[in-house]
């Protein structure tokens, strides 16, 4: 169940963005990724989730252990909240969505079509999906976007509960979640131009 990242270099649009990343994520632990906008957090998470291949290095982790939650939630506006959750439960072969509904206070919204939710309610539903996947390793990209303070606390509780059950979580976020977790600033791993010749020293976000 341990997720290990070894000497990883990742690229976006053909350009390396982060390099030399090493970390392990043991069961029961959470790791918070930090870094300025555009440094490559999303790219890193997608690579770890297996959606894109690494340029170099390895992501080692058991098969079918990862649940990924991206910037967008993958909700169907015409399906109700419970239909959306049941669908993912069926896909991941787990039973029951009650747990997920309770965890994110969605009970009063079960029959509402997902399209008629507010931004924060949608996000809560998107996060509730994690609970029905039954997967141990959560990979979360800015999970608290649009959430109010109470919902952020709710989310932190859900993560804590998940960790205490032996799960783990890799979270990219800009805000403080109040979790007791290691923090990894990816800023220092910014990919450097290969040849060290001058002119390139002014490398910034746009790699110019």
């Amino acid at each position: 169940m341990t997720l290990t990242v070894k000497n990883l270099t990742i690229s976006r649009g053909g350009i390396p963005v982060l390099e030399g990343l090493n970390f392990t994520l043991a069961p029961g632990k959470a790791l918070i990724l930090r870094g300025p906008n555009g440094v490559g957090k999303t790219t890193l998470l997608r690579t770890v989730a297996g959606l894109q291949p690494p340029v170099e290095g390895d992501v080692i982790c058991g098969p079918e252990t990862i649940a990924y939650a991206a910037h967008s939630d993958g909700l169907k506006g015409t399906l109700s909240v419970s239909e959306n959750l049941h669908f993912w439960a069926d896909i991941f072969g787990t039973k029951g969505i009650q747990n997920a509904l309770d965890g994110f206070d969605l009970n009063s919204l079960v029959d509402r079509p997902a399209g008629a939710l507010s931004a924060g309610q949608k996000r809560r539903l998107g996060l509730a999906r994690l609970l029905v996947t039954g997967r141990p390793v959560w990979i979360l990209d800015e999970p608290t976007v649009s959430l109010d303070v109470a919902s952020v606390a709710m989310f932190a509780d859900a993560v804590r509960a998940h960790l205490s059950e032996g799960g783990s979580a890799l979270i990219a976020t800009h805000i403080d979640l109040g979790l007791d977790a290691e923090v990894l600033d990816v800023g220092p791993f910014r990919a450097k131009p290969r040849s060290g010749t001058g002119g390139f020293d002014g490398l910034d976000e746009s790699f110019l």
Partner: protein
């Protein structure tokens, strides 16, 4: 997989009609043809099998671009890719759902539309037979096209462009079956070819589609 199929069917239904819409498009194409070429029934009877097949093909085509597009836009496709379903399964289910919501209703309704175009009486059974055999190939090929163009804004037209040439063999043999049937000629050869194409595409194309889809998700 069943869950995905059920969800896709549900989505198709909810989105204002589901089954009905592919059908209505087919209806409308058939209705517009006489407005274009004129109302003489002998002329219409002559072009009927071809036009009906073309109509079916276009109705399929028009509903294609949304096979993956919606799932892509709202992020479901990323999530499906990290789910226990193999990509080949996803692709197959998508093609099946497309056929069930488009191809099947077209097959069932085609005799009615034959009527509008004065299709000769002998033609009906062959028209239906050719559609039943041919439309699954249209859905599978279309899924491939949709997988290729997913993520491109305004992918719709580009996809048509890619998919239509792939449709040519199916169209030729399908329309040939229907035409020979309507004229009372032997239909065995084109029918066999049609069945062969369909079997081949169903067996092989999902792998290509899955591959292409995985590349597009990167």
């Amino acid at each position: 997989m069943i869950a995905l199929l059920i969800r896709d069917m549900k989505l198709a239904m909810r989105a204002g009609g589901g089954f009905g819409l592919g059908l209505s498009f087919f209806l409308i194409v058939t209705v517009l043809v006489p407005f274009g070429v004129g109302p003489e029934s002998t002329l219409l009877a002559k072009i009927a099998p071809g036009i009906l097949w073309l109509g079916a093909l276009l109705a399929c085509l028009l509903s294609l671009d949304r096979i993956f597009a919606l799932d892509w836009e709202d992020g479901s496709l990323d999530l499906l890719a990290t789910s226990p379903l193999p990509m080949e399964g996803v692709v197959t289910v998508k093609a099946t759902a497309h056929w069930l919501t488009t191809g099947l209703p077209l097959c069932l309704a085609s005799p009615l539309f034959g009527l509008l175009l004065s299709l000769p009486a002998e033609g009906y059974q062959w028209l239906v037979a050719s559609l039943v055999l041919g439309t699954p190939a249209l859905s599978v090929i279309g899924t491939f096209g949709a997988a290729l163009t997913v993520g491109l804004k305004r992918g719709g037209l580009l996809m048509s462009l890619l998919v239509l040439p792939l449709y040519v063999p199916t169209l030729i043999f399908g329309a040939e079956v229907a035409r020979r049937g309507a004229e009372g000629l032997a239909t065995t050869t084109p029918l066999l070819m049609l069945a062969g194409i369909t079997a081949g595409t169903i067996a092989l194309l999902p792998f290509a589609s899955a591959l292409v889809l995985r590349v597009n998700l990167r």
